[in-house]
Amino acid sequence: MAIEYRKGSSFLHRLDARTKILMFALATVVAVVIIDPVIMGILFLLLYWIGSRAVERDYLNKNLRVLVVIFLTFSMFQILFFTPDDSYFLFYLVPGKEWVAVTVEGIIRGVAVFFRFFSVVLSVHLMLYSTPPVDLVLAFTRRTKTREVLSEVGTVLLVGLLFTIVALLSWPEEISNLPLASGLRVAVVGLTALLTALVLQRVGARGLPPEMGVALTLGFATVGILSQQTQKITDAQKARGYDVQPKNLIQRVQVLTALLIPIFLATLERSQDISIAILARGFDYNIAERTYRRQLRFTREDYFFITLMIALLLAGITLNYLGIGNLTEQLILRLIAG
């Protein structure tokens, strides 16, 4: 099954393409930061709930089902091989030989790994389902030459602040080891964060050159047409009397060439057609001054969603800072001990 855009008007569909790209990025970071299976599980369910309102559940599940097996394997590895020395031992998988110990921590981490991977993948899926590829490309394309200084400075400051907090919470020891006065330490950390934010912002604002953006857009539009064409060609060859799926290997290669040549020619023809079509419609008029009908615009929902995601990230980091990042694990161990 292809993962492709599905039309709709759900909450997820209404979000700006950039928000959804950010959603994927933040979901990845969150999945790295948060190691607690229960919190991660809740987050996963939350994402799934949002997703199920955007596309039909059948469709959503169909594409996720394949991944369950893969991620369960990952979990198994985690369960079998995450065995720190002081962990709570349960049993051996191969009892006679005392091979492969299974521990409480291993199981808990395993479950967490399952949800962490799944959340990242789900966020990609949701992004692709609910955003037209054109919008995604547009989000990466340089759209305007005029710069809005105020909002750019604002973004840099905000992101810088965020980085500073993250850094202070995540690496308190490393920072306190810096050979500087305590006030200076924070200033240095803040400055570094600000610089990083600036670089990111510059890279982000630069974006792809418009030629490349348009080319990508055209590419997305062509995929569907080419696959239709491939179907037509396959049918034409069947009707000419080729057994399209012969058992004999040599024949199969022959059939493949019979399909590949016309498909190859059709693709060439299509690219020729496209170049003529876009030239005739003024593609090389003045590409740097190109404008866009589609508009990416943040609404209140976007700000709300982004704030929520950032809050989650900060909460996760705070938990780690307080030493209770693995809350469930600690609780269970205490129950067992108590």
Partner: protein
């Protein structure tokens, strides 16, 4: 009036070509003119159009002599993008010009390139969709539209660029009659309303002639005629180059002036000239439809692309029909009526969810397609989809090999089949060097080399000039006379009527009519309901029917004879 386009002794030779594609062309077009350019395939019409918007010499490489000026710009020194802001170009195949994922994006593409501000782009999109009657199509995907809608979308996209000159290269060629009517309406409205220059390349003279003021006829790269419509029509036919519509030719023969273009004009003039008396209605013997062995038996089939149990949106609904050996049957109906879906069942490319199909005493559900293909030849609409070799001879051998024909027979079969399609001279030609009409005939030849008992052809004449279309129908007729059962999907009811005897009309997946074509031509409501355009000659015959002309006549010769009789009768009194 200012000059819009000026060709000064222009000759262009494509790279690698021996002969120039356009030769010694001098042409001046003034603002607001509406011009038809016509001529056989390969006469340089498309190249001429490409000269106007700068694709020649900037995209197509070759040698350009002379100068082309568009307004004050020399195309040699202007960029295609710059010229595109003056010249809006629409090409033949709408699908190949649609490059984005939604109709609104498509229309916005040109203005975006010109750097038009967003608010204005949105205004222009709305206007363009309104002008082309595509309101509400904004978010539709272009490749899911019908042919006529697609072409309208392309025209909308050009309209939104607000060009001064519209150049349309066979915009009607790939459309069914309904789509043609839709696009023609749009084209005329746009040209007339905005008062812009319009250059229209077309073979469909009957439809286009009433709309234009000036006609240019091209042959072998040269302009052979150029003048006002009446003048060009009075100058007569040029064999193999310019054939006037039958009604015009009849008008000339019977001395009507000015020459009529439509059947109504003909009739009005004819009446005032010959006060023909009403003679008794003579009914022509209906040719019996041959009763041979039933080679195709379709019993109550229904089909839906929805594979779930409830089969939503059936494309075929309970269709039954049988076709006897030696018949030639035309399958008619508007786009999307299920014609192609139906014929795909005959060779097992699709299987019905209800009913069964038996072909040559084989149950299609039990027999694999490659087995059926031994006796059933199948030609697709686009020959490029079935040609797999780079060379004509290899192409035919490929099919023979797949069916296990003995190598000794190859040469004789290749020659026989190429001779049948009049392509024997091309036996060693490269497929790349062939035009679309020739490719179509090669595809046909490679099917014929297997000596099929049944031949199924899906719209073999789309986008071809009248002469090639006629040639293909003649080939099919010869095959039929040699005993092959022929099924043909077509929109060209005039050819169908001239060559086939039986017609099956599909509408929304059901059979609306199954019987002889002359009888079909008399059922006006049914024809209209299926968007079947009555040939202009038949319209004339039907106008003349009170005078005793059979209303189902289609060909020029038949009509000529009938009217001659009337004239003799009128003069006799």
């Amino acid at each position: 009036m200012s000059v819009d386009i000026n060709f000064q002794n222009v000759t262009f030779t494509y790279e690698g070509a021996q002969l120039p594609a356009v030769k010694d062309v001098d042409l001046t077009v003034t603002e607001g003119e509406i011009i038809l350019i016509t001529g056989p395939a390969g006469s340089g019409k498309t190249t001429l159009c490409s000269c106007i918007n700068g694709l020649v010499p900037h995209f197509h490489e070759g040698e350009l002599q002379g100068d082309v000026f568009v307004r004050k710009y020399n195309t040699r020194t202007s960029r295609v993008g710059g010229l595109a802001s003056i010249v809006g170009m629409v090409f033949q195949d709408p699908e190949s010009q649609l490059v984005t994922n939604s109709v609104a994006d498509e229309v916005a593409f040109g203005p975006e390139n010109f750097g038009v501000p967003r608010e204005e782009i949105n205004q222009r999109v709305t206007q363009a969709l309104l002008a082309t009657r595509l309101e509400g199509y904004d978010e539709r995907e272009p490749h899911t539209l019908s042919g006529g809608e697609q072409q309208a979308c392309v025209i909308a996209a050009v309209y939104a660029m607000q060009p001064e000159i519209y150049v349309m290269d066979e915009p009607l060629a790939n459309l069914d009659p309904e789509g043609k009517a839709q696009v023609l309406r749009v084209v005329v409205e746009i040209a007339k309303e905005r008062g812009k220059t319009l250059i229209l390349v077309e073979h469909a003279l009957e439809e286009v002639l009433p709309l234009v003021e000036r006609v240019i006829v091209m042959n072998k790269g040269e302009i052979v005629r150029d003048g006002p419509v009446e003048e060009i029509l009075e100058a007569g036919d040029i064999p193999f180059v310019f054939t006037r519509p039958p009604v015009v030719r009849l008008g000339e023969k019977f001395g009507l002036k000015p020459l009529p273009i439509s059947s109504a004009e003909f009739y009005a003039q004819f009446q005032s000239r010959y006060a023909a008396e009403i003679s008794p209605f003579e009914v022509r013997e209906k040719e019996p439809i041959p009763e041979g062995e039933q080679v195709i038996k379709i019993e109550g089939i229904s089909f839906s692309y929805d594979k779930s149990a409830n089969h939503k949106g059936e494309v075929l609904k309970d269709i039954s029909l049988s076709i006897a050996a030696g018949e030639m049957v035309a399958i008619l109906g508007r786009n999307g009526s299920g014609k192609t879906t139906l014929i795909r069942h005959i060779i097992g490319l699709l299987q019905p969810h209800k009913g069964n199909v038996v072909v040559l005493n084989k149950d299609v559900a039990q027999t694999p397609t490659y087995e059926l293909a031994k006796n059933i030849g199948f030609c697709f609409q686009n020959p490029s989809h079935q040609i797999v070799s780079f060379n004509v001879r290899d192409e035919i051998i490929f099919g023979l090999k797949a069916h296990g024909i003995k190598p000794e027979e190859y040469e004789s079969r290749i020659r026989e089949s190429l001779e049948f399609v009049n392509m024997l001279d091309y036996i060693d030609a490269e497929v790349f060097d062939l035009g679309k009409g020739q490719k179509q005939r090669i595809a046909l030849a490679s099917v014929l080399s297997l000596r099929p008992e049944i031949l199924i052809v899906d719209e073999p004449t789309t986008g071809q000039d009248p002469r090639m279309a006629q040639e293909i129908f003649e080939i099919l007729q010869r095959l039929n006379e040699a005993g092959t059962t022929v099924l043909i999907i077509t929109h060209q009811i005039d050819y169908a009527a001239a060559y086939a005897r039986r017609a099956i009309v599909l509408s929304e997946g059901s059979i609306l009519y199954d019987g002889s074509i002359p009888e079909l031509l008399m059922k006006k409501e049914l024809m209209q309901a299926s968007a079947l355009e009555m040939p202009e000659t038949t319209k004339l015959a039907s106008l003349l029917s009170p005078h005793g002309v059979p209303p189902w006549l289609v060909t020029l010769q038949e009509l000529d004879q009938a009217i001659s009789k009337l004239v003799v009768a009128a003069n006799g009194n």
